[in-house]
Amino acid sequence: MDNTDTGGMNLARLLDDKEAAATALIRDGKAVSFGQLRSRVAALRAELSNRGVGPDSRVALVAGNDIEFVVGLFAAWDRGAVVSPLLPSSPVPELQRKLEALRPDLILGGGAGAWVAEQAEAFGASVLVVDEQEKGDGPEVAVIDRAGSDTALAMLTSGITSDPKVVVLSHDNLRWAQEAVVTHADGIKADDVVLGALPLSHIFGLNVVLLAALRAGVPVVLQPRFDEVECLRLIAHHKITILAGAPPMWRRLALAEGPNDAMATIRRATSGAAALPTEVYEVIKARFGVEVGQGYGLTETSSLVSWSLGAEIKPTSVGRPIEGVDVVIVDEDGAPVNIGDVGEIVVRSPAVFGGYQNADEATDAVLSDDGWFWTGDLGIFDDDGYLYIVDRAKDIVIVSGFNVYPGEVESVLVTHPDVAGAVVVGELAETTGETVVAYINVAGGGQVADSSLAQFAREHLSEYKCPTSYRFVDELPMAPTGKLIRRKLRQ
């Protein structure tokens, strides 16, 4: 993983050394070889050149898990552009807000995102649709060299704990993370087949699933819209060996209709983006014979911090730090805490981002001069070096000096039979400093008595962790990854 040859490189060149006939992508049963992919990328590259897209042009890529996403991404990179992938399923106003933050020079729509062409006016930017008929008859346009430190991706974060920010990731950041996956002894092997079911607009699905697999030269089967039954069918049909998912996907797979040997070909199953509930892990293991290993990462770290590769899986842990990633757990003064104690997870690696776009203050708050990134996540190491995520640092509620981690309280409340969802936040209180307040979404929209919830909480939680107030809401703010957006309920 030597990154010294930054005189001229381009991440997009990872396609170049692959066998032309080897399968790169499969979508709807149709295979696209590396050779075909390269020609489509070259054709679009020429078209983008005509459109004036060049080094540091900003390109928003609105496509689903489609071939067009991959073609658009590589063609834009070939031209030296900075790409911002966006979910095509976002409603127009949301997409508008995102595009306002990104201010792209060009919007590339493709596959499930081709509809953006009809809304070009609303978005105030020129739109180009990537389709199957890219014109390849013009003169060949060369790939533009970049420095490794040049920006490749400008990723809009989901804004779980703060306002959305744009994370700037370089060609080197992404390359290092991909190589970490590909070169690991248990990473990607020549005969692997990868399922691309996670959204490609998310760093995990993009860099660790799609791009790492393409770098390794193995096929990626794209699943455009997650459906658990279809997912099981794709696994069996394409003999998928590597499956990465987020907790909501794994939960649905655990209960999916389908044969229990549907995952017989899976040799590596991973979960990221949020905590995988132990019962989901257990059901997947018992039913399909597959152990799901959790990993941990953030957009700011090009997705990689820790994983469960190459070691025994501990179901509640997010695995061990990836080789080359320094991970320490520290107190507020930056002093490492004892093993077994909770502190903030601080990370340094070649995959750590360069900062937030046009937000120096936000960058300075989390990134030290020598490259340490304060994740804002609280964690704990065990004696064997496995990492466990506790909660977001900002979400802690302090009751009489004791730390209450909302996630723990929420995980108890949702086991109450009448509770569909729960969000726990802190509020100021006279004698205890803060107090725990729970927002409850009742299953089936019915009613449940405060007293029933209070008694349930007392049976399962220490007294200081029990909510002192229950508020009933019709809907809880939740990100697609399954993360609760608590700040929306904090007052």
Binding site: D326, P336, A365, F381, V390, G401, T432
Partner: protein, 265 residues
């Protein structure tokens, strides 16, 4: 004084000889005579089987009053150095102290082994979760040793909070003032299984925090989320509870303070 005290002896453990029995037989009526010891929650001590007794720690004499309050004989770990002094060489082991050499890197592991042995033999084992005496009089953050023992030996933890020992024997004094009241409160047993999945370090921390909360209720102390130790200022009045102020916003993120080897401690 607890009338139905049971002196458990165990040939494999110190203090089971005649001297041990004698020490207890003599000490108990003397304590009952010299201090007004009130004991609450004695029904929470299991009649048989192992349990981990976890009191708050304010004074040297806690090690006298807490074992006194229990209806069964208890063991604890003490500094190996006590065996070097003629004053303590015989009496401390007789009272159930198991000396552990605190020098060397694996001292904690050795202490844990010793404690596990006591529990495996179905006895009571006493450990101060704060690790050392609180000089601030606040209740400090708990160390996870008791929870680790609970997991390893499948033993309950008995939270204990006491009030009054600091007046009997203030820090750095040898003499104990008599005729003072001491209250020892024993809480309901706590089981590690109620705190999460086996092997998960968050479970140890969760149980330890819950334990400290219970001890704080029993001892009427204010909890502070820092370890008791040298930075713990002597004898402050407990602060009144106010809204916890968040740390000042970081102006510029710092690098972690790493040791020379670059390793967390």
């Amino acid at each position: 004084m607890t009338s139905d005290f049971r002196f458990e002896s165990d040939a494999e453990l110190p203090g089971s000889d005649l001297l041990g029995r004698l020490a207890y037989t003599v000490a108990r009526p003397v304590i009952a005579r010299l201090w007004d010891v009130k004991i609450e929650g004695i029904e929470h001590v299991p009649r048989r089987g192992p349990a981990i007794v976890t009191p708050n720690h304010l004074s040297f004499c806690d090690s006298i009053f807490v074992p006194y309050a229990l209806p069964r004989r208890t063991w604890a770990i003490g500094k190996g150095e006590y065996l070097d002094s003629w004053k303590t060489r015989y009496i401390f082991p007789a009272l159930g102290m198991i000396p552990v050499d605190r020098s060397g890197g694996d001292a904690a592991a050795r202490a844990l082994e010793t404690a596990a042995e006591v529990l495996k033999r179905d006895h009571l084992f006493m450990i101060y979760p704060e690790g050392t005496r609180s000089r601030s009089t606040n209740l400090h953050k708990g160390r996870t040793g008791a929870a680790r023992l609970a997991e390893r030996c499948n033993a309950p933890i008995l939270p204990v909070g006491h009030v009054g020992t600091l007046d009997v024997q203030p820090p750095d004094t040898f003499k104990m003032k008599v005729n003072l009241p001491v209250t020892v409160r024993i809480g309901e047993p706590m089981w590690i299984d109620d705190f999460g999945e086996p092997g998960d370090p968050r479970r140890m921390r969760r149980m330890t925090d819950a334990l400290m909360f219970r001890i704080g209720q029993l001892s009427e102390q204010t909890y502070v989320d820092t370890y008791a130790g040298s930075s713990d200022t002597p004898l402050q009045k407990p602060p009144t509870l106010t809204r916890p102020t968040p740390p000042p916003a970081r102006k510029k993120a710092k690098s972690p303070v790493l040791s020379a080897a670059g390793e967390p401690r």
